[in-house]
Symmetry: C2
């Protein structure tokens, strides 16, 4: 097997996935349902951010969550515990979600009663950035302890995201924390000037309201009192 | 293109890589050079841990570093700054290193003058766990801010590693940090009881000596005063 063949297979997968993603997005649009693709490193706080958002907005939006994991149902159990419809995808090794995995999960949801679907992707800053899943927006979470230089090392994820959440800002108070927010913002302005950026702590709640306000305006549920 | 074909290509890659990894390890052994495969999420402190280790042991071991990154030379520049032979691999998108990438980098090093090669893999808890690169040991770094539950979500990496470094223990002092070290140790005892575990802070230096002692005994440089 030569390298060319591997590349052809890979390109075939990517373009087929893109076509299916457009079809899935169109289907979601027809139900006025917006899907958000939440991507981040392991442990950056994807689930905690989703839970904090749902807690603040569940009276104004109908949520559902699709949880992508290699194995385990740790995260989907946390979502179920708060009474939100949840579908677990276990990829059994695959390091990212794609449409053939996400679509059957979407099909299990009552779309007419769903304004917003959070899809928690596999914790990985590399491959998820390449695969559209039919989302209305890509939301990347970077956590403060990961460092401000991640944008130099994983530029694709930072350049394709519509929203960058900088989570765990409570860690900025630690004397050994050397995260330079200004450096991150300047780099982001260079490679992705249109991205919305929300520094917050999903755990303490600081900054979460600003992110929720944006999300509410993005989802725009006309049927919910506007 | 059907899914079966993709799986066949993938399995072909994995088994070819394993054969090449054995050959590379045998070649390194013949030079008394030990290669360590350093794997972790983005931002868990791989480079900082490598630098802290080199600072403590450079009078007793001859080091070299191979830096794997999607793009950029951020990390290899840090290693070069302290005067250690460094080779940068830019994968241009690939989310893990394999032998065809690592071997040409090894070939650039003066193996007879090298006791220990650190290979800093791509920041990713998924795919690097599947690909041997000719290493004498797999070292996984988990950082405290990522959370103690990562072992449930990325079990393969935790089960294949020979060493688990729990980095950034300085973050344990933060009141909002909810990391449960005991829970991690208990889970690790179940899935990988033989792994050596070193809690440390590469930044403050706490715990680094214990890891360095183990490393020194593992490398055993007979030609260096033993």
């Amino acid at each position: 097997m030569d390298a060319t063949k591997v590349i052809e297979v890979r390109e075939g997968i990517l373009s087929a996935n893109e076509r299916e993603a457009s079809a899935l997005k169109a289907s979601l649009d027809s139900h006025d349902t917006r899907m958000l693709n939440i991507m981040a490193s392991p442990g950056s706080g994807k689930t905690t951010t989703i839970l904090a958002t749902i807690a603040r907005l569940r009276d104004r939006l109908n949520f559902a969550v699709i949880e992508g994991d290699i194995e385990s149902q740790v995260d989907s159990n946390k979502i179920k515990d708060v009474g939100i419809p949840t579908v677990q995808i276990n990829t059994g090794g695959a390091c990212h979600l794609d449409v053939p995995m996400v679509k059957p999960a979407v099909d299990l949801l009552a779309l007419d009663d769903t304004d917003c679907i959070f899809v928690e992707n596999i914790g990985n800053l590399v491959c998820p950035a390449e695969f559209d899943i039919g989302e209305a927006a890509k939301v990347m979470i970077l956590s403060v302890p990961e460092g401000d230089d991640k944008i130099l090392k994983y530029p694709m994820m930072f350049s394709v995201c519509d929203v960058l959440i900088v989570n765990k800002i409570d860690f900025l108070s630690l004397s050994t924390c050397n995260f330079d927010m200004q450096a991150l913002l300047e780099r982001m302005a260079q490679i992705n000037p249109n991205a919305k950026i929300f520094p917050l702590s999903a755990l303490t709640g600081e900054g979460v309201d600003e992110w929720c306000e944006w999300l509410l305006s993005f989802i725009k549920p006309l049927e919910k009192g506007e």
